[in-house]
Amino acid sequence: MIYLNGKQEEISEGISLAELVRERQYCLDYIAAELNGEIVPKQQYKDTILRSGDKLEIVSFVGGG
């Protein structure tokens, strides 16, 4: 169980950030992800394994400004 954007969510054991992003159908080009308060560079998504209790924020941007 992790906190995704402030909400408790069940996740598969040993899942990587890259897999979660794919599973939740986020568009990679439009997001920024912060794990426990630190940005995760995109090239590290596949090596970033999520652990129970992690606080993950995935900001998904929409066009307009």
Binding site: I39, S60, G64, G65
Partner: protein
């Protein structure tokens, strides 16, 4: 108008202690569209002393439904048009301009001097690129991004949210610009005001060095 007169007018509204903080602050505004032009004007009015304006584009007629430009600016670089407007409000501001498209690899050099950074781009991938880059290279700088402000109404859904240390997002998070429900002055200005208001608070409440 003398610099002293403008300074005294600002201090009479804000107090000298507050004005000194605002005058010393260095804020970058990345993207000078509906968000960025309105953010910069707000910050210029309260006498934020050092503004760094970044945009590659020129003013066109379709911008005038929401962006802080006038007919006479059409065809001008947004950096130059906005600088002119800001200096009409306060000619003693220090305004640095970069008329260029921001790329990921330029971020460390481009934003080195800025203490506060407003993300005010239009396209989602540009927004994400800037946020990823700033958070990666400059986690100690304050970053305020805008996300989701198209359409009209639903004023109270525009919110300011703290995402992490030094990182905030303003907007409703979902309203993207689509044909028939595009960006309009009132709601874009609302989001821009959230961003400018947060920057103002963070400057005033910052610790003296």
């Amino acid at each position: 108008m003398e610099e002293r007169e403008i300074w005294e007018a600002l201090c009479s509204r804000h107090s000298t202690a507050v004005q000194e903080k605002l005058w010393r602050a260095q804020v970058a505004v990345a993207g000078l569209g509906g968000l960025g032009s309105n953010i910069a004007v707000s910050l210029a009015r309260i006498g934020v002393g050092h503004l760094h304006l970044l945009d590659f584009d020129e003013v066109d007629l379709t911008n005038l439904n929401r962006q802080y430009y006038f007919l006479r600016h059409i065809g001008m670089k947004k950096t130059e048009a906005l600088k002119e407007i800001l200096l009409d409000i306060n000619p003693y501001l220090d305004i640095q301009t970069d008329c260029r498209k921001v790329k990921g690899e330029d971020i460390p050099q481009l934003f080195q001097k800025d203490e506060y950074i407003c993300e005010a781009f239009d396209r989602a991938e540009q927004k994400a690129m800037l946020v990823n880059g700033i958070r990666e290279y400059f986690p100690d700088k304050v970053l305020v991004a805008g996300n989701g402000m198209a359409g009209y109404g639903k004023s109270n859904e525009i919110q300011t949210r703290k995402v992490g240390k030094n990182f905030y997002i303003c907007g409703d998070g979902v309203s993207q610009s689509v044909p028939g429900r595009g960006l309009m002055a009132p709601r874009v200005a609302l989001c821009a005001a959230h961003q400018a208001n947060l920057i103002t608070k963070l400057i005033i409440e910052s610790e003296d060095i």
